[in-house]
């Protein structure tokens, strides 16, 4: 199947600190890849590099076969094809739920507001929050806010979604509704790269699981291979600790 995103020997440093040490990874269309690893292992950094929110120091990243380090690349265009969802939601507090969803299509894609609005309402309907369209984000529960944030990315009709520990900031009782939405998206063939600590979820939805340790891609395989038969000692001890 078509490769959407490809990382080749990506190196990222913050000063002296090498946060990614030669990571290679490819994501195919309609595929879900889960990134697991301890806190500080470089998951967030990897996702941000893929989105050009960080520049890399060596290696290359390509989207649809086009190298993102090419100087002809327009980062804003790249980001319009990649959705990103954050641990802390980052909804815009001064905009209503509906306007949060509309801001990308209207002000980045320059779509007509009336058209974009119909799409946005359809998306809200899908997560059962149509009646909250005109509320401000702080009136919503964490789980509702995060689902709105996911839908805000989807409104851009991105080729892939990057999700950075999207349930880590949630009250345990609210984790389920967000994971259910992601599972839905996975079944409908949304291409996703997901950093997560939810191992059961990763096992259920991932085509591939990638284990990062201190910026090194230690092991990659199907959930079956990683969770039941990890090859490396560090993978094994990590899984022991999170279980």
């Amino acid at each position: 199947m078509e490769v959407v995103l490809e990382l080749t020997d990506v190196v990222k440093r913050f000063g002296e600190n090498e946060v990614l040490s030669g990571v290679s990874l490819s994501l195919h269309r309609h595929e879900v890849v889960c990134l697991i690893g301890a806190s500080g292992s470089g998951k967030s950094t990897l996702l941000r590099c893929a989105n050009l929110l960080e520049t890399i120091d060596a290696g290359s990243i390509s989207l649809f076969g086009q190298c993102l380090e090419d100087e002809r690349i327009d980062p804003d265009l790249v980001r319009r094809h990649i959705g990103m969802v954050f641990q802390s939601f980052n909804l815009f507090p001064h905009l209503s739920v509906l306007d949060n969803i509309l801001i990308g299509p209207v002000h980045a894609l320059k779509r007509r507001k009336s058209e974009a609005r119909d799409d946005a309402l359809a998306l809200l309907d899908r997560i059962g929050l149509t009646d909250r369209a005109h509320d401000y984000p702080d009136r919503l529960s964490g789980g509702q806010q995060q689902r709105v944030a996911i839908v805000r990315s989807l409104a851009m009709r991105p080729a892939l979604l990057l999700l950075d520990e999207v349930t880590s900031a949630l009250d345990p009782t609210l984790v389920g509704e967000v994971l259910d939405l992601l599972t839905d998206l996975a079944h409908q063939g949304t291409t996703m790269l997901i950093a997560t600590h939810e191992m059961n979820f990763a096992r259920d939805v991932a085509k591939q699981v990638v284990y990062l340790d201190a910026g090194v891609l230690v092991e990659q395989g199907t959930p079956e291979e990683i969770f039941t038969n990890p090859q490396h000692e560090s993978t094994r001890s990590f899984l022991e600790r999170v279980r």
């Binding site: 941000r48 989105n51 929110l53 804003d76 265009l77 980001r79 319009r80 990649i82 959705g83 990103m84 954050f86 802390s88 980052n90 909804l91 815009f92 507090p93 001064h94 801001i103 990308g104 002000h107 980045a108 894609l109 702080d138 944030a149 805000r152 990315s153 851009m156």
Partner: protein, 296 residues
């Protein structure tokens, strides 16, 4: 030591009433205490002024009601300008400079925050501008503009009235402060907001306009009002260019009749202008604090 909450196994529960002495300060008696202390403090201040050895002299030279009124209305026959009319000059200089400062400050902040390579030289200039004009005393800027520009002989720039040069000088200096206030406001918006906006593919300009600035406004308003209050007072400095505004009128009055009551009038008039603004600023700060605490 054991890690339990109930230390002793005392049979009686702890007493929760305030001690006899503290009772003066809590509850309804607190109101009485605060009223009493206000009266005492006010009394002491008035007594010091009234009973001081030079008290009567000060009252005569600064608080003479008849002369205060005379200074306020002025006396054209004796060549005395009115402090009241002078204040009108302060007021329009303030309004003109205020509008210009709010706009020009925003332009400078915008340039300093821009990322476009084309604007690089302007970024350097804007940085130098804020550094220089926050550092140079405003009085010197007023002198330089007010006496320098007319000397340059460049068309209409050199033929303006002193009050206009005064406004220009105030605008130049205060724009530097206000630009920094705007910039601090932008930095006060959580970094995640910027990340989220840019990940949606919004350009730098769209991110600023749609996401960052609307949120920055809230933190910016109180410090902005502070600078405007200060600007309002500093219109008095333009008197060094010979503009007859409130303080200058008071000075003329004082040196003619050998009495300072005109200064007191000017001070009171400035207070009447600034107090509503200081109160309003405090009100905004308090409201924002309550909202933040309520998590709105």
């Amino acid at each position: 030591m054991s890690l339990t909450t109930d230390e002793g196994s005392s049979p009686t529960p702890p007493l929760l009433f305030a001690s006899r002495r503290r009772r003066l300060l809590v509850g309804r008696r607190g109101v009485i205490a605060s009223a009493l202390s206000s009266v005492v403090i006010l009394g002491v201040i008035v007594a010091v002024f009234w009973l001081a050895p030079g008290g009567a002299t000060v009252r005569y030279f600064f608080f003479n009601p008849h002369l205060m009124w005379q200074a306020f209305v002025g006396n054209p026959r004796r060549g005395l300008s009115s402090v009241g009319w002078g204040l009108v000059t302060n007021l329009w200089m303030f309004v003109v400079s205020e509008v210009l400062v709010l706009i020009f400050g925003l332009v400078i902040a915008w340039v300093r925050l821009s990322q476009s390579p084309v604007l690089f030289p302007f970024r350097v200039l804007a940085t130098m501008y804020t550094d220089v004009f926050r550092g140079v005393p405003i009085l010197l800027v007023i002198f330089m503009v007010g006496f320098g520009l007319p000397e340059l002989n460049i068309g209409f720039l050199s033929t303006q009235s002193p009050a206009v040069y005064g406004c220009a000088a105030l605008t130049i200096t205060y724009s530097a402060y206000v630009a920094e206030v705007y910039r601090a406001g932008v930095f006060s918006v959580a970094h995640g907001q910027l990340l989220a906006a840019r990940s949606l593919g919004l350009t730098h300009t769209a991110t600023m306009r749609r996401v960052i600035l609307p949120q920055a406004v809230r933190t910016v308003i109180p410090p902005l009002l502070n600078d405007l209050i200060s600007l309002q007072k500093d219109t008095a400095l333009v008197s060094v260019l010979g503009v007859i505004e409130a303080t200058r009128a008071a000075q003329i009055y004082g040196s003619t009749v050998f009495n300072f009551s005109g200064y007191t009038v000017a001070a009171i008039l400035f207070l009447l202008l600034t107090i509503p603004m200081t109160r309003f600023t405090d009100h905004l700060v308090a409201r924002d604090r309550t909202r933040r605490l309520a998590g709105v």
